[in-house]
Amino acid sequence: MSDTGFEEDRPSVADRLAAEALIVDVDGFEGPLDLLLTLSRTQKVDLRRISVLALAQQYLAFVERAKALRIELAADYLVMAAWLAFLKSRLLLPPDPTDEGPSAEELAAHLAFQLERLQAMRDAAARLMARDRLGRDVFARGIPEDVARLRQVRYSASLLDLMQAYARIRTRDEFRPFVMDRDAVFTMEQALERLRGLVGHTPDWTDLANYLPEGWAADPMRRRSATASTFAASLELVREGRLEMRQSDTFARIELRPRRPQ
């Protein structure tokens, strides 16, 4: 920036002083656009009529001062400086007819638009924050009543569920593993043991029914089981040669007596 040959390039004293004041506060700026907006205020004109060229010069002066004071500027400030230097030269030189892309005026206009838009948002933010605000100017109910949430559980079941459940129960019945109800069963071992103890005490022919254990004659199920096992046990004792059996006729009484020694 030291040698450009243009009068406008040399920062005015006022610009330099302003730049110095700004540099002290460089951390306070939110980036190059913020800085540009602040600089633009020195022009004291509507942002729509701002001179972007003058603004570019102000900005470049600021960066120059920062360099002179050995203040490290963030990269984006330097990027903006480079771009503004480019814009400035484009604005000052007659347009190159072979150059494609946006004109310098278009670029400058967009920068002006950006500044105006940022300023507009800042004004809007200020107006927003100045509104009557809840908890500061306007107040909600101090003792809100909670809405009691009554949670009601509704149980559902379909007809299919019902039928499946019933089918499940019925099939479970069919496939129930076979288990003997032991309390109604008088086993042959029990009968044999019992009969061995009794044989010999009654020497004469005695009805098999009399040998049934006590309390097993009343209930049909128990009587049947006890009769069967006692009969089977008798046959076993006959086979062992300790007992004799006789039956006078079909379905007649079966009688037992100890085998007499020969």
Partner: protein, 218 residues
Amino acid sequence: MTTEPPLKDSLFDAPPIAEQERMVEAILFASAEPVTLREMEARMPHGSDPAEAMAHLRRRYEGRGVHVVRVGDAWAMRTAPDLGFLMQKETVESRKLSRAAIETLAIVAYHQPVTRAEIEEIRGVSVSRGTVDQLLEMDWIRFGRRKMSPGRPVTFVVTQTFLDHFGLESARDLPGLKELRAAGLLDNRAPPDGGPDRDAGDAEDDAIDVDQGEMFEE
């Protein structure tokens, strides 16, 4: 100066009572706790009469959805007691009926009137009190007549609510075992005994009709 007196008035005179009423209204509305007249006075412009303002406010809220009530020596605003129901929000949660409950229900439906002992015999496990209570509470089963057997146990039958829920006109509309079997819900095996097989005969169906009739007595 000519403008001075009105300024002085606004500074030192109490606001009109209507304005004071607005003030106590706002204070009571926004306060997290009941507010005493003394507290109101401290917050209101000098010379205000909160007691008078409160009297106006109370009258204004008479019969409204919100009442001005006295709490000890303080005042508060509360929703009208008769509108308490608005402060409740019912959320309905759908849940599947437990296996025990649906089985018990199925047995009642197919075997009604049925005693608890009979349900247990069919299910092969004891039926918890909770399961029966749940079904009673849902109004899907109810107590039927006592059985004429020893101990005269109570029986259970299904209700109209049950029939409505399952879209049945009567319990006899429940599909029989034969249909369950045809639908592939049952293995192709004959049930151990006549039991609940609806196809077994009309005698049983008639019995059920009688039971259903009983349900609507009372």
